[in-house]
């Protein structure tokens, strides 16, 4: 059995809200399959499962907010299939249900919501029949959502209370400002009769989840994103000793190359100069790997592969940095397709969890109608950020002669713990060389 937990989709993420599931109990899943959509301060992110298996239990309901690490579902990763779901069973089963908490059964359609279940199976294990005969805590009526939610309680305490049919309004809160915390709910459970046996009551949410401040209205995503960006850049400027380098690069060869390739192409197949810029960075990183990775616990750790994060500005404000994996291995067309796809999905909010956490370096382009020079802020724990400004026609002197060329200002913001200016300069020169010879 494998617990599917709310993934951390950023250093500063503490919670996510499930928007919808794409799978159901009983459904088979494959490693890498997208199984749901979660709303975070970075927008709606698709979450993937990393093992083959069959979905056994789903605990989290759409709209529910779950702390990072909180269990959302259980996936059976063993080869054998498990017994059918309770609602499909004809005769009451006396066999203990392996690894399944009675409380979780209550979430399935067609079953009751037990308050506490006494197990009559071997070793006090809870059987299907036990669940069936246990009276419900409350008469079947619509949950009075509004009233219980006016009660101050941490999200974790709420989950535990709901799973065990505990009424929050009857509890005394010992948390900040009288908020009900996990310990309060557990104390109430311990003093209640009949007592639940081992298999019957399991606290699912991760113990590591920090006690959140008392429940307050959900901040809107714009504010949450702003806070996430604030946390990242504050940490960056506090911890990373930045140095900055800039270089003017002649983009003539690259633009001519792109114009030639784009001749006769439909708009959907067009190559943007940005693709060449990203490719130049990815290839240059092969020779300057100290800019591709992370500074963690006092030393540099290689990124493993070259996964270029692309800073994408969002309409109405905000920033998200999805990554193009193994960018150095892609030809220009594939890179352009990946870039177009990522930018589009970033702006409509359909990025995948793995895309938002993968970047080993970030490239930011404030080109188009923007500024000429980007002085970037490194996204921790990365060690470098490459910037491209707007391509501008400039006088360009070469071999004692004057010409006009399309010029871009290429910048590097780098972590001085991981690299020095000399290597930084060579890295930028390598990028410039590749832009001068796009065919290489």
């Amino acid at each position: 059995m494998s617990e599917f937990r709310m993934p951390s989709l950023g250093a500063d993420m503490t919670h996510g809200t499930l928007v919808e599931w794409y799978v159901r109990p009983g459904g088979a899943v494959r490693r890498g399959q997208i199984i749901g959509l979660v709303d975070t301060h970075k927008g709606a992110i698709e979450i993937e499962v990393f093992e083959d298996g069959v979905v056994r239990e789903i605990f989290t309901k759409p709209g529910e907010r779950v702390p990072v690490g909180g269990v959302m579902a259980v996936i059976d990763t063993t080869a054998e299939s498990l017994p059918a779901l309770p609602s499909a069973v004809e005769a009451p089963s006396r066999a203990p249900l392996p690894g399944v908490a009675a409380a979780s059964l209550a979430e399935l359609p067609g079953t009751r919501k037990p308050r506490l279940v006494r197990g009559t199976g071997p070793g006090g294990a809870v059987t299907l029949e036990d669940v069936r005969v246990t009276p419900t805590a409350r008469p079947e009526q619509p949950r009075r959502v509004k009233e219980t939610e006016r009660v101050r309680a941490t999200p974790l305490a709420r989950r535990i209370a709901e799973q065990h049919g505990v009424d929050l309004r009857l509890l005394q809160g010992s948390g900040a400002r009288g908020a009900i915390i996990k310990a309060d709910v557990e104390r109430a459970l311990r003093s209640a009769e009949p007592r639940a046996t081992t298999a019957g009551v399991t606290v699912k949410p991760a113990e590591a989840a920090v006690q959140a401040p008392p429940a307050s209205p959900e901040p809107d995503r714009g504010t949450a994103m702003r806070q996430a960006i604030a946390a990242a850049v504050t940490r960056s400027k506090r911890e990373i000793p930045h140095y900055y380098l800039a270089m003017h690069v002649d983009m003539n060869a690259s633009l001519a190359w792109v114009a030639e390739k784009n001749q006769g192409r439909a708009a959907e197949d067009l190559i943007a100069p940005a693709a060449l810029q990203l490719r130049a960075v990815a290839l240059a990183l092969r020779d300057y790997p100290e800019f591709n990775g992370f500074w963690i616990d006092g030393r540099f750790r290689s990124g493993g592969g070259i996964h270029v994060g692309v800073a994408v500005s969002l309409r109405g404000g905000g920033l998200v940095v999805p990554a193009i994996r193994d960018a150095d291995g892609l030809d220009v067309e594939s890179l352009m397709r990946a870039l177009g796809d990522l930018v589009m999905r970033a702006r409509v909010g359909r990025l995948r969890g793995s895309e938002v956490t993968d970047a080993t370096i970030t490239v930011t382009s404030l080109g188009d109608r923007g500024v000429e020079t980007v002085f970037g802020v490194i996204y921790p724990p990365q060690v470098a950020l490459v910037g491209f400004g707007r391509i501008v026609e400039r006088p360009w002197a070469e071999h004692g002669m004057l010409a006009v060329r399309p010029v871009v200002t290429l910048t590097l913001a780098a972590d001085h713990r991981a690299s020095d200016g000399h290597r930084g300069s060579l890295f930028l020169s390598a990028i410039a060389d590749r832009l001068a010879e796009p065919d290489r």
């Binding site: 114009a259 784009n262 001749q263 006769g264 192409r265 439909a266 708009a267 959907e268 067009l270 943007a272 940005a274 500005s313 309409r315 109405g316 870039l339 177009g340 930018v343 589009m344 702006r347 080109g367 188009d368 109608r369």
Partner: protein, 90 residues
């Protein structure tokens, strides 16, 4: 396809790229990129959507001349007429 149909296609494609902008607030003769804060990646996406819907491919030179909604309508109109003429000749 007449010009008002073309314009409808253009505005629909714009809504996909800039969903928060009310269609009736888009100035037809003003620079699109400035008005709607569209960057080059979104512009390519916009062109791709319109080309697909209209069924005609523009020359890169023509694309470079586009700044406003009116430009889009005019240039696509010309390109459509040209492709109809070319098809008739064959």
């Amino acid at each position: 396809m007449n010009e008002s149909e073309l314009q409808a296609i253009v505005l629909k494609a714009l809504r996909n790229v800039a969903p928060e902008v009310a269609t009736d607030q888009i100035r037809l003769d003003a620079d699109l990129r400035d008005q709607l804060d569209i960057d080059s990646m979104d512009f390519i996406r916009l062109m791709a959507a319109i080309e697909k819907e209209v069924g005609v491919r523009l020359e890169e030179l023509d694309r470079a001349r586009i700044t406003s909604v009116n430009d889009l309508v005019a240039i696509f109109s010309t390109a459509l007429a040209r492709s109809v003429r070319d098809a008739a000749r064959q």
